[in-house]
Amino acid sequence: MLGKLVAPPRPRPAPARGGDRNGADNKGADGGYSDATSQPGPNLTPRSSFSGAARGTATVRPLRPRLSDNDQSGGELLPAPPGASKNKSIGRASIPIARTQLSSAIATPLNQPPYIVEEQEPTRHRRDQPATKNPRVIDRSRLRKEPLLRRVVRVSGELLITLGLVVLLFAGYEVYGKTWEINAEQGRLTQALDAKWDHGGNAAPTVHDEPIPGEGIARLHIPTLGKNWVVVQGVSQADIKRAPGHYPSSQMPDQLGNFAIAGHRTPAIFWDVDKLAKGEWLVLETRSAWFVYKIYQSQIVLPTKISVVSANPDHPGARATRKILTLTTCNPKWDNYQRLVIHAEQVRVQDKSQGRPAELGS
């Protein structure tokens, strides 16, 4: 743009064509001004040379500054304003700025749109600058101005995202939190059970006496899964919260009948019992003995089939003929519309004094 201005030196005095050149000159001056303010260095020379060329070639010039041709208004006699001289310390370089400002001030009616925009935009920008750096101010004004519908949509979106995170956290709790809780509780139950067994000595070799609900009564080992738990008495929600529970209506391991256990289908309890196969071992440990059971049946039933925990689950209502161990848990995982039931039959009893049974593995 500046090159254009510099290139055609004006042979004739400007007044003759002031009217038609007005727009082009304004444009040129405008562009030169904005360029000079944003990038002072490179633009100074062409402008000065232009003004020099204009001065050299234009022979006849009006004394008064002309409104139309502001680039040759003679404003160079004025001292540069403080802002301009600060930016451009060279005296020669400050001249065009001073001239431009003077001419723009004089020529405002004719040059209105470009100059107003050019002079207000930096100011507005400067005023906005600190606001964008301060999130408080920006936020408040944005909230105030935000339309109601948009605000409702935004807040509900935030709530939904939060809810999603809470549900995700709950899923994490169901796996890791529950596992941690169950392991901690199992540690406490083990201590209590060992203390009870140690305290009782051999005086009462079985768990015949009425156990308190929630109290540990035996330890269940599943060697193929590498797991063992303290089994508590009772199957209420509170009893089996952190341990498998023994159905109080079912029998004890040294009795004919069914020792039935309910446990949660969580990773810390009966998560993988569906992987147990026929012929694998379950071992029940009481104060005095190891009861070794062999799995003979795994079935999925409706929650209403209470016969699976009866004394003779294979022939409900008939007299018990065998010693059965039954595990019940919910099926499928994370739901409860079915029950997974494992039946095992007691094959032998080993006294504690004989050490750990071989079925437990190493």
Binding site: D139, V166, F170, K178, Q237, H264, V301, T329, R339
Partner: protein, 51 residues
């Protein structure tokens, strides 16, 4: 919601972030140790017995 919370938090960005993380941690702990154990009992997969 979060914009409003961020505005209420004291200090500059670093302090705000610390406060925010502290709040989130507190809320998560409350959920994890109090609300989830309670809510868990109300869910269907807590019932594993035959009855």
């Amino acid at each position: 919601m979060y914009g409003w919370l961020w505005e209420k938090l004291p200090g500059k960005t670093a302090l705000k972030l610390c406060c925010f993380l502290l709040l989130v941690a507190g809320l998560a702990a409350l959920l994890w140790f109090v609300i989830f154990p309670w809510a868990e009992q109300l869910l269907p997969f807590g019932d594993v017995t035959v009855a």
